[in-house]
C-alpha cells in the first residue's frame, strides 16, 4: 500500500516536471521573474543590547514589506537573511562568514554593536560586500571599511557635543561614566580630549559592563570627587535606567548630560528608573526627530509621515513586548535597507561594494533618507551624519503627538 503511494507521488512529480518542460518554450528568459536578491541582516537578536535593537529591526522589516510590495530592488524581490551576533565579535565574524559565503548575500545591513562591526570588516572587504550599519565607533574609517557606511554619526561627534555643552554652561568640574562598548570608548575619548581642551577638570571616570545589576560603587566613587556635572555615555537604554535608579537611591542631586541612548527611548529608561528619571538629565537625540516652536519648525515632514505610518505598524508587530516608541531608530532601520535599494537601483542593479561606495560618496544629493536631511559621507569619512545632526533635549519624556522632541532652548 505504502509502495503504491510512493509510486503515485513519483508519477505525479514526473508528470509535473514533463508538463513544465513541454510548456516552457525556449528563449523566454526575459519573461522569467528575476531571481530574488539576498540581503543579509546582522544584528544583536539575543544577549545584551538585543532589546535596544528591536526598533531598528522593526524599521528594516517595515522597509522589507514595503519594498517587496512595490517590486523589491530593481524588480528583484528582497530575501532578508538574518544573523545574530549576540553582541559578541567572535559570533559576529562567524555569522558574517555564514551570510557571505554560505548564504551568498549581495549586501549587508547592520550590525549595531561597534565591536562586531569592526570585527567583520575583513570578511566584508574580502568579498567586496556593501554594508550600511548603525555603528558609531571612530575605528570605522574608509581605510578599514571601504564599502561600509554608517547611517548615523560617529560616536566621537556625539561625545564632542556633550563635552561642548559642558563648556558652554561654564562647568569647571565634570565626571564621566560609560559602558564598555567600542562606541562608548570612542565617545568618551573625544569627551576627555574636549574637556581637556576647554580646561575643564575631569574629576573621575568610571565604567560598567552592559546590563549591569548595580552601578552604585561607580557612582559613589564619582560622587566623592565632587563634580558639578556628570556625563553619561551609554549604548543601552536599559543601562541608562539602571544608572538613573542608582543615582536616585544614593540621593545624588547631580546635573547630568546623557548620550543618544538616554534620549531615544525614554519609556525604557523610565520603566526602570521611574517618572523622575529625567529630573536632572539633559539628553541627546538626532535633529530629524525634533521640533522647535521658537523657530517655527514642526520637524521634517517626511519623518512625521513615517511616524504616523509606523505607529499602527508597531502596534501590530509588537509581539507581546512593551510598546516601542523609538521611532527615530525605526526610521534609521528603514534607511539601512532604503540606502541599499537606492544605491543598487541607481547603478543598474550592480551590487558590488566598490560601485555602491563610489555612488554613495559621489551622489549624496541623490540618496534620500528619513533619518538624515542630507548625507555627508565623503572619501575621508563614511559617517553619513555630521556633528550638527546631534541636538540636546531638556526633557525627552515629553514628546508631541508625532513623537518629536522639543530641542533645548526652544
Amino acid at each position: 500500500m505504502r509502495a503504491n503511494h510512493v509510486f503515485l507521488r513519483l508519477a505525479l512529480l514526473a508528470a509535473g516536471a514533463a508538463t513544465a518542460f513541454v510548456a516552457t518554450p525556449s528563449g523566454v528568459d526575459a519573461q522569467q521573474p528575476k531571481p530574488p536578491i539576498k540581503i543579509g541582516l546582522l544584528m544583536t537578536l539575543s544577549g545584551p543590547g538585543a532589546a535596544a535593537n528591536l526598533p531598528t529591526l522593526m524599521g528594516v522589516d517595515m522597509a522589507l514589506q514595503e519594498f517587496n510590495a512595490h517590486g523589491g530592488i530593481g524588480g528583484r524581490q528582497i530575501e532578508l537573511v538574518k544573523g545574530d551576533d549576540e553582541a559578541n565579535p567572535t559570533t559576529g565574524v562567524d555569522e558574517a562568514k555564514r551570510l557571505v559565503y554560505q548564504e551568498r548575500i549581495e549586501a549587508l545591513v547592520g550590525p549595531v554593536a561597534s565591536a562586531v562591526t569592526v570585527a567583520i570588516l575583513p570578511t566584508l572587504n574580502e568579498a567586496k560586500i556593501a554594508n550600511f550599519t548603525q555603528s558609531g565607533s571612530a575605528l570605522l574609517t574608509p581605510e578599514n571599511g571601504p564599502y561600509q557606511f554608517a547611517v548615523i554619526g560617529s560616536a566621537a561627534y556625539s561625545g564632542a557635543q556633550l563635552a561642548e555643552y559642558a563648556a558652554q554652561v561654564g562647568a569647571k568640574r565634570v565626571a564621566l561614566i560609560s559602558d564598555d562598548s567600542a562606541a562608548s570608548l570612542s565617545g568618551t575619548q573625544e569627551i576627555k580630549a574636549r574637556l581637556k581642551a576647554h580646561g575643564i577638570t575631569l574629576t573621575g571616570v568610571q565604567q560598567y559592563k552592559f546590563h549591569p545589576t548595580d552601578v552604585t560603587p561607580q557612582l559613589l566613587s564619582l560622587r566623592a570627587t565632587n563634580p558639578e556635572y556628570l556625563i553619561l555615555y551609554s549604548a543601552s537604554q536599559d543601562d541608562v535606567g539602571t544608572v538613573q535608579k542608582d543615582i536616585a537611591e544614593i540621593g545624588w542631586n547631580i546635573k547630568e548630560i546623557g548620550s543618544l541612548a538616554a534620549g531615544l527611548a525614554p519609556d525604557l529608561v523610565m520603566q526602570k528608573a521611574g517618572p523622575d528619571a529625567y529630573k536632572n538629565l539633559l539628553a541627546q537625540v538626532v535633529r530629524t526627530i525634533t521640533y522647535c516652536p521658537k523657530e517655527n519648525d514642526p520637524g521634517p515632514a517626511n519623518m512625521i509621515a513615517f511616524v504616523q505610518h509606523a505607529i499602527p505598524y508597531e502596534k501590530a508587530h509588537r509581539n507581546g513586548g512593551p510598546p516601542i516608541t523609538d521611532f527615530y531608530s525605526m526610521a534609521n532601520g528603514y534607511d539601512l535597507l532604503s540606502a541599499i535599494k537606492q544605491a543598487i537601483e541607481a547603478n543598474g542593479g550592480k551590487t558590488d561594494g566598490p560601485t555602491i561606495a563610489k555612488w554613495v560618496i559621489e551622489h549624496p544629493e541623490d540618496l534620500k533618507l528619513l533619518s538624515i536631511k542630507q548625507t555627508k559621507a565623503t572619501s575621508q569619512s563614511h559617517f553619513m551624519f555630521d556633528p550638527s545632526n546631534f541636538v540636546l533635549v531638556e526633557n525627552p519624556a515629553q514628546r508631541n503627538e508625532n513623537y518629536m522632541y522639543k530641542r533645548a532652548g526652544c
Partner: protein, 253 residues
C-alpha cells in the same frame, strides 16, 4: 535559576507595592516550590546518563548548560527585554543612601536557609544521608542508601533556596535572558573562595565576592571589577585550593 525566581516575581507580582503582603508571601512560596520541583527534575535528567558513577564534576557543566537553555527559553518566551519588578516594601535610608528592601529580604533568607540547612543536614535522617553521600559516594552506596533519590532531593533543596532568593531579590537583580550566566560565574567564584561543598563557605564566600567587587570598582574603576575577582580566584586556588572553609581530608579505604 536565580533569574527564573525573578521571572516568577515578574509573572506573579510585578508591582509588589500594590500587592497585600500575605499574597506576596504566598507567591514567594509558590515560586519557591515550583523552582524546587523544576531543579529536582533537572537534577534527575542530569544524573540519568551518569548511572551511578561518582563523578562530581558534571554538575558544573550541566549547571552552565541549563543556564544557557533557560536564557534561550526566556528569549523565546519573553523577548530580549530586561524585566523590572517593584518591591512590596519600601526600603530604608542608611548612611544617607536609600537601600531597597529586597537586599534585606535576601540577607534574611540567606541566614534562614543557612540555619535550616544546618539543622536538616545534622538532625534528620535524609540530611545525614546526604551528608554521608557528599563525604563518600561509594561507601554510602555500598551501605544501601538510595543514592539517586538523595541526589534528586539535594537538587530540589537547592531549587527551593535559589527560587526563594530570586523571587525576593527580583527588584534588585537583572532579569534578562543573558543574565543567568553572569550569576553562575560569580556564584562559582564565591563557592571556590568559601569552599565548594561547604555551607558556611557559601555563607561567607558570597559577601566576600560582593565586597571585593564593590571595593575594586570604587577604588580602581568598574573596568577592573572582573579582573580583581579572577585574580582573587586564582590566588585562592594557588594558596588554598579547598577554599576558606574547605578541609582537606583523607579518604578511608
Amino acid at each position: 535559576m536565580l533569574v527564573l525566581g525573578g521571572v516568577g516575581a515578574v509573572l506573579l507580582a510585578p508591582s509588589g507595592a500594590s500587592e497585600p503582603m500575605w499574597l506576596w508571601f504566598a507567591y514567594l512560596v509558590v515560586t519557591t516550590l515550583a523552582l524546587g520541583a523544576l531543579i529536582a527534575v533537572q537534577g534527575y535528567i542530569t544524573l540519568l546518563p551518569l548511572g551511578y558513577s561518582g563523578d562530581s564534576h558534571s554538575w558544573l557543566i550541566t549547571t552552565m548548560a541549563v543556564s544557557v537553555i533557560i536564557g534561550a527559553a526566556m528569549l523565546i518566551m519573553l523577548g530580549p527585554y530586561s524585566a523590572t519588578v517593584s518591591s512590596p516594601l519600601r526600603g530604608v535610608m542608611l548612611f544617607n543612601m536609600y537601600i531597597p528592601a529586597s537586599y534585606f529580604f535576601a540577607i534574611v533568607l540567606l541566614i534562614l536557609w543557612y540555619i535550616a540547612l544546618r539543622w536538616f543536614l545534622s538532625s534528620t535522617l535524609p540530611g545525614l544521608a546526604i551528608n554521608a553521600l557528599s563525604q563518600d559516594f561509594d561507601a554510602a552506596r555500598a551501605a544501601g542508601l538510595k543514592v539517586r533519590r538523595l541526589q534528586v532531593l539535594a537538587f530540589g533543596i537547592s531549587g527551593l533556596i535559589v527560587g526563594s532568593v530570586g523571587f525576593a531579590a527580583a527588584p534588585v537583580i537583572t532579569i534578562a535572558p543573558e543574565a543567568g550566566l553572569k550569576y553562575v560565574i560569580y556564584g562559582f567564584i564565591a563557592s571556590v573562595i568559601g569552599g565548594i561543598g561547604n555551607n558556611t563557605g557559601a555563607l561567607v564566600g558570597g559577601p566576600i565576592v560582593g565586597l571585593i567587587s564593590a571595593f575594586a570598582t570604587f577604588k580602581l574603576g568598574g573596568e577592573f571589577e572582573s579582573l580583581v575577582l579572577v585574580l582573587v580566584l586564582v590566588a585562592m586556588l594557588l594558596i588554598r585550593p579547598k577554599g576558606i572553609f574547605g578541609a582537606t581530608s583523607a579518604r578511608r579505604v
